[in-house]
Symmetry: C2
């Protein structure tokens, strides 16, 4: 078949040049292969000390490193204190700022433009378009989600001998086969659907209060008869079991969700800290979600749900990091923290903020450039900050690499996520990515290469090209000054990217609205 | 006269309430008096430990503290690494970031909206509208500038026994009586007019190169006959002498200006370090001025004049701080660093950047919210950052206070600058200002109180009010949610502010264009 022939062609091209076959279990995108031709020798040389470092750590601790993924929700690039927010925005994020100070802070970390897509990319290392998962899954969507054929980071790490757990917002489908306990997690406690949608639950009245707003202030909703979302709550289960609804929806549950999720994560960490097996835990927080505020965190100067949720999430991340230290396992634990996309302005001021242009759902920087950082005391040098480009899918491949199972990533599909262990362990300048394909649903809206960003079909003529260093706010497109010259390079990148898609075609998923008699297609 | 009667009325009001008369040499604006009624006792209590601290320092070092003002040019709020810029913008500012780390970083520091006005406010502690100095002084403007009746910080500090020096861009008028050596500085080396205008000098050809641009790329200029600016260069002099032109204009001189200015400052510091007298030096740098780039600093990733100038200025501030340390006088020297206004986008990408809305010449945050910090090892605690509101005029009053001559500030006029020594010496939360009157030329365009900003006459209806914490980018005015309630408060503030102007009327200046046969009024 086409796929394997390409593999062989590339193999015959690369092997004589001395490229290591360890990268070969994975099928990267064309642009990575072009870079590998240029930098492969250098990368192979860098990989040696990394492998030695990881081997020494494994010897010292008697197991592979634990891995924690924390995915926060809708937190804009300029929200944390360490990114120019914090006090400036009327709240404080001392724990997240401390995490940044003690680890590596990414200044060019990119998500997908919305919630479900970023979660899909984090779990599989693939742009969600490749698996037919385009936008946000709406409540009651069926026939759509993370299908069994996709290989998740939880499945890979299970193969590597990890105990795996997931807590929080899953939002990758609810059909049989799509839940976290069927996607590689040994145990999970997760929300059905997308928790903010709980605000539309038929039990919620417009006069009910969730934090600083009553539900009628922001959300129009039809009456119970026509209402699309009448179930929901907290699901729980273990691998091999049937998922159970353990707590039906309530606004109170939504208000305290991040803290409840963190409690679950901390409990999981405590139970697994002294095990012979390393653990992987995925903390999918509530983050920053316009309505709902934990009553204990409503005393922020800004007086918004956003500020209460930022303070709550910051507190919970602090609790988790301190717990890792107390348990004496911090030095054998990689913690990755990131946001899933930019803020949602339709809920201003409760839905977060970014000084960058655009919001959740956009491929402008405000939608996809998000705060992100890694923490691993003793292994990742503290006090680092870098503009090296990183994409959320890279965390999949990097985790697989650090756990020693990168060769288990299937090569019958394109994996977009790039192994960034060199960046984490060797420091600034070592990112193996200088490009991103920015998809919005099924459209390739923008391509990034180095400091240049090319928009394929801007709404206004000639507003194709931005220099992200000169103009992080994307206000001054200037085709003559920068893009006329960059254009042909972008053309080649896109052409080769599309050729790769022809060889490894996208999965197609067709969702529908359950409990309703009309078809529902969130792709439209 | 009206003025003294008001003084007496206020005195009779305040003295029975126990307010200290030390604040009485100065005539603050009405809003400050209202706050003093509320907080006067607390402030008086805080002043005691400050005075003790300053007295102990004077005893230890045998003289009052040295004071350094560094005013950078056109540097936007988000440019320094410590404010979210630096690498993100394609250059590095390690020395300014170190200064922030070792001192106090202001997150709500406000300038006037342009160059001459900010310089006037810094020198006199007064909004420039009060002295009839409205916009940027254009080349060849005469009959306008810092008039003799104004009292400068250099004059006050001279009275306090300081040796005073000024180096760099003066831009406060060129008529007799207006030069730095006639305005309190013992010595000065300064630019005639506004150095960037040198680019229009009749000797400059459109094909001449200044950094990354040739002059024709950005600046249209008429031929030599009609050209308004045919003189210019570096002036020099000592108090009591006639100013001399020591170096005629050249593009080379402009390219290296910040470094040459820093050389002058460092030489002054070396000559005065061991003196029995403390020194005050005003370093008015080139900063960030669209054309011109020092050839030694053109290797920045961004490849712009802005990046070269940022790197150059950063280097020079680093040299100065290290020199203070080498000379063993850092612990007796207060260094204030600030920008004079936001970036100038008409010169993008060479004229700087801010993620905030607006630019130089605007009272939107992008025009007036600027980076600012103070450094005084051992006296100002390191690692502080604060959102306490500070205005550039406060540096005048604070310097006078620290030098013990606040009582020499004349009380026959309003001084807007507030003594911020409590904020500097006691830390966050101690700002005595929670308001700003944002003037643009002679228009009161906006009023700030706490986190709210009220625009008096927005171009679009109902876009009056912004919550600067919720919306630092000023995108979401919402009169119903926030401003309907704040409105009456702003009304009172403006009314009392205007009443004070009636009592202490603005000076009126009327400039004209010398060497031309038509009158020139930059106020229009």
């Amino acid at each position: 078949m086409g796929c394997s022939r390409v593999g062989l062609t590339l193999l015959s091209l690369l092997v004589p040049l001395g490229f290591v076959s360890s990268t070969f279990a994975i099928q990267p995108d064309a642009e990575y292969l072009a870079r590998e031709k240029q930098f492969g020798k250098q990368w192979a040389a860098e990989d040696e000390p990394i492998q030695q470092k990881l081997a020494a750590l494994e010897k010292k601790f008697g197991k592979k490193p634990n891995i924690v993924f924390i995915l926060a929700d809708d937190i804009g690039y300029t929200e944390l204190g360490s990114y120019g927010g914090g006090k400036v925005r009327g709240f404080a994020t001392p724990n997240l700022d401390r995490m940044a100070d003690e680890g590596m802070r990414f200044l060019s970390f990119y998500s997908e433009p919305s919630c479900t897509p970023t979660r899909a990319a984090l779990m599989t290392g693939r742009h969600p378009v490749r698996m037919g998962l385009l936008g946000v899954l709406f409540p009651g969507t069926a026939g759509m989600g993370l299908v069994d054929e996709e290989v998740t980071v939880a499945e890979l790490l299970s193969e590597a001998g990890y105990t795996t757990g997931m807590f929080g917002k899953w939002h990758l489908g609810e059909d049989p086969g799509m839940t976290p306990i069927e996607q590689g997690f040994d145990e999970a406690v997760w929300s059905e659907g997308n928790p903010p949608w709980w605000g539309f639950h038929k039990g919620v009245k417009r006069t009910d209060n969730a934090g600083y707003v009553n539900m009628g202030a922001f959300a129009w909703a039809p009456g119970p008869e026509g209402f699309p979302y009448d179930t929901g709550g907290i699901m729980s289960g273990k691998k091999g079991e049937e998922p159970k609804l353990v707590a039906p929806f309530s606004l109170e549950l939504y208000n305290t969700m991040d803290t409840d999720v963190a409690d679950g994560v901390i409990d999981f960490v405590e139970r697994n800290a002294k095990s012979e097996k390393p653990f992987f835990v995925y903390y999918a927080g509530k983050g920053n979600h316009f309505w709902g505020a934990h009553p204990d965190f409503m005393n922020q100067p800004a007086g918004t749900n956003n500020s209460a949720q930022m303070a709550e999430h910051d507190h919970n991340v602090g609790r988790l990091l301190r717990k890792l230290e107390e348990l004496g396992i911090a030095k054998n634990t990689l913690v990755v923290w990131m946001s899933d996309n930019g803020p949602m302005y339709s809920m201003h001021p409760h839905g977060g903020y970014s000084l960058l242009r655009g919001e959740k759902g956009d491929t402008f920087e405000g939608g996809v450039r998000v705060p992100g950082m890694v923490w691993w005391p003793g292994t990742i040098d503290q006090g680092q900050e870098t503009v090296d480009i990183v994409q959320v899918s890279d965390m999949f491949t990097t985790a697989a690499s650090i756990a020693g199972v990168k060769n288990k990533i299937p090569n019958d599909r394109v994996t977009d996520g790039i192994d960034q262990s060199a960046l984490l362990l060797l420091g600034e300048g070592k990112s193996r990515r200088d490009y991103i394909f920015h998809y919005n649903k099924d459209k390739l809206e923008a391509v990034r290469k180095d400091q240049m960003k090319y928009r394929t079909k801007p709404k206004e003529k000639h507003k194709n090209c931005y220099n992200i260093q000169h103009d992080p706010g994307e206000r001054y497109p200037d085709i003559s000054r920068y893009c006329l010259w960059a254009g042909p390079g972008f053309g080649r990148m896109i052409q080769e990217h599309k050729a790769m898609i022809e060889k490894f075609p996208h999965r197609v998923q067709k969702g529908y609205q359950r409990e309703f008699d009309y078809p529902f297609d969130p792709m439209k």
